[in-house]
């Protein structure tokens, strides 16, 4: 029996790609929002507070009376490192910031900063940011850029 031989194509070398987030049932509305170009968070009606990451109850009071709300997409740069050892798919970006952004609505989330070279000089803490979205596979991932 002859085994099929697979040759790597010269025209299409394997290109590592950035991680594509895999939604869970509880987070699906968040990712649906991103696909529509909208940042969404959950808000507890009992506490009148936003929270993140998504879950079907409020982590302050356990109430399940929670709703999804479109939010402003405005944020500030809370803290970061600048990674000099790129993850697969990030080679062209290195060195790049892995940041935590402070959303205007209260919660914080990890993200990348685009639209500016990621140097300490260009990334003063508390700088104003706004959300933008990057295509990953068939998903859109929220990133942040300096506010215009």
């Amino acid at each position: 029996m002859e085994l099929p031989v697979r040759r790597p194509s010269r025209n299409h070398p394997p290109v590592p790609s950035k991680p594509v987030p895999q939604p869970s049932p509880e987070t699906q509305p968040f990712w649906d929002g991103c696909a529509a170009g909208v940042l969404r968070l959950q808000r507890c009606r009992a506490c009148d507070q936003f929270y993140f990451p998504p879950r079907p109850f409020c982590p302050r009071c356990l109430s399940t009376d929670v709703e999804w709300k479109d939010v402003s997409g405005r944020a500030t740069l809370h803290t970061y490192v600048i990674n000099h050892r790129p993850a697969p798919g990030f080679e062209a970006d290195a060195p790049y910031a892995i940041a935590v952004v402070q959303l205007d609505e209260g919660p914080r989330m990890m993200s990348n900063i685009v639209g500016v070279e990621n140097t300490p000089e260009n990334l003063p803490l508390d700088m104003a940011l706004q959300v933008t979205f990057e295509s990953r596979g068939d998903m859109m991932v929220p990133l942040f850029e300096p506010a215009r």
Binding site: P21, Y80, R85, M110
Partner: protein
Amino acid sequence: MSVRHQVAIVGAAETTELGTIPNLSSIELHADAARNAIADCGISLADIDGVACAGQSPVAVAQYLGITPRYLDGTSVGGCSFMLHVRHAAAAISEGMCDAVLITHGESGRSRVGVGGFFGGGGFGGATLQGQFEAPYGPTGPPTMFPIGVVRYMKEFGLTHEQLAMVAVVQREWAGHNPRAMMRDPITVDDVLSSRMIAYPMHLLECCLVTDGGGALILTRAERAKDFPSPPVYILGTGESSETPMISQMEDFTTSKAFRVSGRQAFAEAGITHADVDHLMIYDAFAHLPIYGLEDLGFVGRGEAGAFIEEGNTRPGGKLPLNTNGGGLSYTHTGMYGMFALQEAVRQVRGTAPAQVPGVQVSVAHGVGGMFAAAGTVVMTNQAG
């Protein structure tokens, strides 16, 4: 001594549904069962101060439910893990380590939704919360995540790059006295700051080693301890806590809640003040950890640790000898270094350390788990009660 009639189960419930549940991920199955058990007995969330589970990390379950624990049990020995959790919880409650323990199980065994996690479950990827909300931003291991709060700390408190580098310099000085340390040649602040940038603001010499090795401890009742050849090292107090499995969700990036809760409990149980501590170990995966640890354990005020180390207080001959084996930065770091912090504390209390501090009676060993995910603190002494 037994737990007979000391402890009772007051709430019990299963998940709302059983069978095929494709709409709930593993962590939410834990939370669904937990909310049902909480409803079953009417306890308030704030009164639950212990979390035990298998499959998921108790760190993840606690943070997901909004619990600040001072008792965690992640014992994972298969399907009987929960019997062991009950046993350990009964002992902990009867000893006053905590008041109310939540034991959860949730397993998407059929639908396989959101299975896995950073601890105890298989990887950083998939549909876990870390996989969805941290992995897409390109971290490549702890060096690119753990120090994420350092620039915020620098802005809040004025910590300088030179002060951060001094942590590594001082620990190398200790390592120079330790023949078993992997890195023993003296280094300067300039050496640290000119070493390769790994993840700004952390240079290579501000990151721990990666080594092979191990350690083991044997404990028994104090009254039996005198029958053994080595001088007994008595446990005076212990503490533990957790904050979040996702570093991006820390409450405050300049301080560890888990460090504070764990340390406070250990000092209170030991009945000691900071002035009683002759020797200190703070798990140093990266150079900022001794800085956070000194402050969160209460040895110095907020924002003071960088200057405290820079002034030489923790170096050989200083008033608070810290990480006297050379630490994870210079001695060894296998990945779970806490065992080596305990080993050095035992050596110092026994009086057998390579860089022995004179007259050690009380040592504190403080460890971190994950990236500010969890903490544990042990106070030990050679003084019989």
